[in-house]
């Protein structure tokens, strides 16, 4: 699904923040991406999300060499990837339903064709009663679940989550982890970037540990 071969990344003329990364993300796999602050977790997520291009090495996603893709092709490929941002990035002028259905809307689907699907997902993440609420009135946990719902509504093959439990209490963190596990069981490959050791200890999964820009894999 995703293949990194000797990938390096530097910003401008600065030092390499990621060095010689070689790994694969297989279909239906689950992995934690961890490491100390500044180790390059967010940069690696950006590479996975096609938001950055490597300064060296080869990245293939879903069989495509990302270096050769046009902007529109990147956008199309990105529809197969869901991302949960640490700061949620919900649109404040849209209610929860509209935020969650946004990926389907930009695909050009008519609202009638996905309404039931979105409502079902909102119920599943416990936001059925908050469908009409605007993000500013949602709690941190509700925002997090809305962001997750938006990331998975288009049934991505790869789900990336950046510190998804960083803003929630341990109880909700556990529930969110269960949500990711269930999504993985349904066929979505999951990469969770976190430095929450307690969270990782709750589920036996592959760990990608970044340290000084290098990746150490613990299967």
């Amino acid at each position: 699904m995703v293949r990194f071969e000797n990938v390096g990344l530097r910003y401008g003329l600065g030092p390499e923040v990621l060095r010689d990364l070689t790994f694969r993300i297989e279909p239906h796999s689950f992995q934690f991406l961890t490491g100390p602050s500044g180790a390059g977790k967010t940069s690696l997520l950006k590479l996975l999300f096609l938001s950055l291009k490597p300064t060296r090495g080869l990245i293939t996603q879903f069989g495509h060499d990302v270096a050769t893709l046009s902007r529109d092709a990147v956008a199309t490929l990105r529809r197969r990837i869901g991302i949960v941002f640490q700061d949620f990035r919900l649109l404040d002028h849209m209610n929860t339903y509209e935020n969650v259905s946004l990926p389907l809307r930009v695909m050009g689907r008519a609202e009638e064709t996905y309404r039931d699907e979105v409502i079902e997902l909102l119920n599943w993440v416990g936001l059925g009663e908050r469908m009409y609420a605007l993000p500013p009135v949602l709690s941190g946990g509700e925002k997090q679940r809305a962001a997750i719902a938006r990331a998975v509504i288009a049934r991505p093959q790869l789900l990336l989550a950046d510190e998804p439990t960083g803003n929630v209490d341990p109880s909700l963190a556990q529930r969110l982890l269960r949500l990711f596990i269930e999504l993985n069981k349904s066929g979505t490959s999951v990469v969770i970037a976190t430095h929450d050791i307690a969270l990782m200890d709750q589920y036996d999964a592959r760990r990608l540990v970044l340290h000084d820009g290098r990746l150490h894999i613990y299967d």
């Binding site: 279909p27 999300f49 938001s51 902007r71 529109d72 990147v74 956008a75 199309t76 990105r78 529809r79 991302i83 941002f85 990035r89 919900l90 649109l91 404040d92 002028h93 849209m94 209610n95 339903y97 509209e98 259905s101 946004l102 990926p103 809307r105 930009v106 695909m107 609202e111 009638e112 064709t113 996905y114 309404r115 039931d116 699907e117 079902e120 997902l121 119920n123 599943w124 993440v125 416990g126 059925g128 938006r150 998975v152 288009a154 049934r155 093959q157 529930r175 969110l176 269960r178 949500l179 269930e182 999504l183 069981k185 349904s186 066929g187």
Partner: protein
Amino acid sequence: MRAVWSCMTGACTSMIEVKVTKMTEDERVEMTPPPRSGGGFLPRFDTSLVPRNSISGRALVAVVAIMTFLASLTTGGVILVNQAANEWQADVSREVTIQLIPAAGRNVDALVDKAVSVARAYPGIGDVRAYSKDESSKLLEPWLGAGLKLDELPVPRLIVVKIASGATPDIPQLQRILAEQVPGATLDDHRGWIDRMRAMSGTAVVAGLAILAMMFVATILSVTFATRGAMATNKTVIEVLHFVGAKNGFIASNFQRHFLLLGLQGGAIGGGGAIILFALAALMSRWFAGTAGGAQTQALFGSFAIGWGGYFAVLVQVVLIAAVTAYTSRHTVNRTLEMID
């Protein structure tokens, strides 16, 4: 097949209790959304992707309205000055004056009649009117005062010769004939006055056009910066749309459409205000046409009507300014997307 996140029970908030069916890759691709199956009434969820009625959006409409209004006033002003200058020139150049200076031994009245008949007989001349002695004397009253006995003074006699509409008579030839046939007659074609008038009106029009050009530049710059300001508040929207897989053209089109509407809204307010103002000015000019003040104003500024051409110019400005707004928003979106990438 139902979506994978089918809620098993009412206790949806407990994710641990959710039972999940394993899906194959093929099932995922083939899975189609379930049809809408009755249920209660739900409103349409069709909020614009670009936030409407934001403070920055309203500020942009206000800036566009004000700048369009000012630009329209400037355009109207230039049109009025140009029209007035053309009218002055046309009025003056359609008239020449024959002057007869009395001298000892000259029968001035006979010479006046002779000059009138020569002028009338000349091709291209429309109307000829000789000022009587009293009328000529009255012309001097503003300078010499009333009640003076002017009989002893050699007050020149004037003959106003109007050129026929559309005709272009050979004035120097008429001047020569008068000199030959009417002793003491001189012909003034107001050439010096017309030249000065032309220079003055030309300067006024050029100055107006220069002000209009500066106004346009100021309008475009203000609208551009106001649009960029409004766009800055939408950076998150652009990023989110980008990250959920929207193509650049889709994002840019949405913003361009939104800002074109804002530009047209502001332009319609400003341009509409200017059009109403000009229409009112033309109406009032017609109302006061018979009064002394009205005549004075009309002499200076013409009829105060910018005409259909003027109204069309204002409408073109409205569309142009809206187009600038739309183009700037598209350009800003593309730059933002380039920065994200």
